[in-house]
Symmetry: C2
Subunit: 355 residues, 2 copies
DNA sequence: CTGAAAGCGCTTACAG
DNA sequence: CTGAAAGCGCTTACAG
């Protein structure tokens, strides 16, 4: 029966199970489990048999079934990623989400965690339920949760470990990572004022995204403190989309007293604004200064290159991953809410106001 | 005991299982399974009890445990995504992978499939094994597999449904989606020749990526047919990275007889080439024409805007998703290898050769 | 047509 | 120290 090995490995239709390797080793299944997958198994199995088991596992091409392990409460070493915006595709389509994901993936990979993207958007606690709690995922990363969503309290009450990214969530008990939106908006608005602008407009992002709300609020505050009056029509509401930036800017430029500068809540909005200016024959930055937010990859390639507020998205994603993984492994976290400082990147889309 | 409901739903620590809802309904667990999760359950349960079960499930906030279902061989409605390049982060970092993922995600979402990103790169059949075969994923999407990888034969022999993306895999038996690399290279090279260039260089991508090999081969073929001589140093090998494009272009421009045009195997290589030209004081496109491949998002924002070969990446990703899902659901596919035609996008980085 | 049993592959107490 | 049993939550034959 010397070649029974060959035969059994030949019928590779069936995967080797723990029982198979235990049988082959002439050992109990529980011991095999301890030797192969166990953590504190040192109590149970001698180093010698562990070696032997490992070899047999290799011969049989044994790999533990993660589903079965999950069923007994073992972690799956998989992180879930859930997008806060209903329009998942949009959430993923923009460079913003992508950069954050880069950081998430890099860190997860380094810690040998896989990532599952939940494509079904969160609805509410009643309709949503399955995937986030059945153990397929050890914890979840929430991206850009809207303020009107009940996803955080719901998942928290279900005991799902989570960390919120770019969600500006107020509860200090939930782990979160974000850029300092207030500081960023301050930087942007102050720049415009320092350049001599007094007719400053702001193009906010989706109203129900707290980050957008904070930027808007801080913009208003800085203007107020500087004695700059901001008429209501200078802050038209809209979304984090290029077309929204385009349309709002056209409207702005059609005003009797159009603004001489715009603080857009994101680069993609800013790109839309610049396009609109171009189509209206308004020169950027000569006649209109535009500053964005994010420092997306295309910001520096835009014409003119976009002045913007850089947020370290990949780092934010990486920090969020790290925070979640630490939590999963019981490593105490030093801080619950990590806020990254933004950075002003001055490029060619802003200029001194020339009366 | 009228409020036992409230109490039991109050101790939400424990998730409701199928047993719970069956018990509550005074029905067998098998019937509950059929009514709630079954496919051809119509044979088993009447519409009335099905309704009742559904309601109880709602009350108890019951959601089937996907792990347990997977263990019995049920599909998990999850697609795996595996990157062919060892350097996963790079694979994910580039806009290429991102655009493909957009298509994948959109289609998967529409079909209610989740996606898990395998962050552990494929090594070889011996070392790699677990995650791709234990049922956590119904099938896998392979992105940019290198020609020296044994991942496709291995997974195929394990019976894992898969489709290869941008891998230019020769075996017609494996499902695959790609751009027509040959046609693309032809388009690019022909443009340069038509513009009057005779000193044409090519900057290939990673040698072990079949797409790079095909583009290189076609470039050479078109030149040969047109009677354009290509010295060996005009086709320096390198990788799909910006720095690789930069360095190779510097070397090219330092040649006694430098090329007057470059066909870069990707936009990111082209961006590096343009940078190098800039740093060497060589004007693009006046002194050097550069054409890329991909039409990445930043291509149109580059200075000058990049002439390139557009490949419909999101569509490619979507088609791959579709192909895999169809296969999983037993829907016959009309074609195994989908090849998308590339499109020449002429922008500002190419110009007529002026002796 | 429906219930009770066996089993998916593992791990965790529980006996020897 | 190690084996046999029970159980995770489900589904699929198998009996009534």
């Amino acid at each position: 029966m010397a070649n029974s090995d060959r035969i059994s490995s030949g019928e590779s239709k069936k995967r080797a199970s723990l029982r198979d390797v235990a049988a082959r080793a002439g050992i109990g299944i529980a011991s095999a489990s301890a030797a192969l997958n166990g953590s504190k198994s040192n109590t149970r199995v001698s180093e010698a048999t562990r070696q032997k088991l490992a070899e047999i596992a290799r011969e049989l091409d044994y790999h533990p079934n993660a589903m079965a392990r999950a069923l007994t409460g073992q972690p799956t070493r998989t992180l879930g990623l859930l997008f806060g915006l209903e329009r998942v595709t949009v959430g993923v389509a923009n460079a913003f989400a992508f950069d954050v994901m880069r950081g998430i993936i890099a860190t997860a990979a380094a810690e040998r965690y896989n990532i599952t993207l939940f494509t079904e958007p969160w609805h509410d606690s009643a309709r949503s339920g399955g995937p986030w709690r059945d153990g397929r995922t050890d914890g979840v990363l929430l991206l850009a949760v809207t303020s009107d969503s009940d996803v955080i309290p719901t998942l928290t009450s279900m005991g799902v470990p989570l960390v919120a990214i770019s969600s500006a969530y107020k509860d200090p008990a939930v782990l979160s990572v974000d850029v300092d939106n207030e500081a960023g908006a301050n930087l942007a608005t102050t720049l415009l004022i320092d350049l001599g602008h007094r007719r400053i407009a702001h193009l906010p992002g989706d109203e129900n995204l707290t980050s957008a709300a904070i930027r808007r609020k801080e913009f208003l505050a800085v203007c107020r403190n500087a004695g700059v009056r901001v008429p209501e029509e200078y802050v038209p509401s809209g979304t984090f989309e290029q077309v929204s930036g385009y349309e709002r800017t056209r409207a702005l430029l059609a005003l009797i007293e159009p603004p001489t500068s715009i603080f857009a809540a994101s680069d993609i909005i800013a790109i839309g604004a610049i396009q609109a200016a171009h189509d209206c024959g308004v020169a950027v930055p000569e006649q209109l200064s535009v500053i964005g937010f994010d420092d997306a990859p295309y910001a520096e390639f835009s014409t003119p290159p976009l002045t913007t507020i850089r947020q370290p998205l990949a780092e934010i994603g990486a920090a969020a991953s790290r925070l979640l993984i630490d939590q999963l492994q019981g490593i105490p976290t030093t801080e619950n809410c990590i806020l990254y400082p933004p950075e002003l990147i001055v490029r060619g889309s802003t200029a001194v106001f020339k009366g």
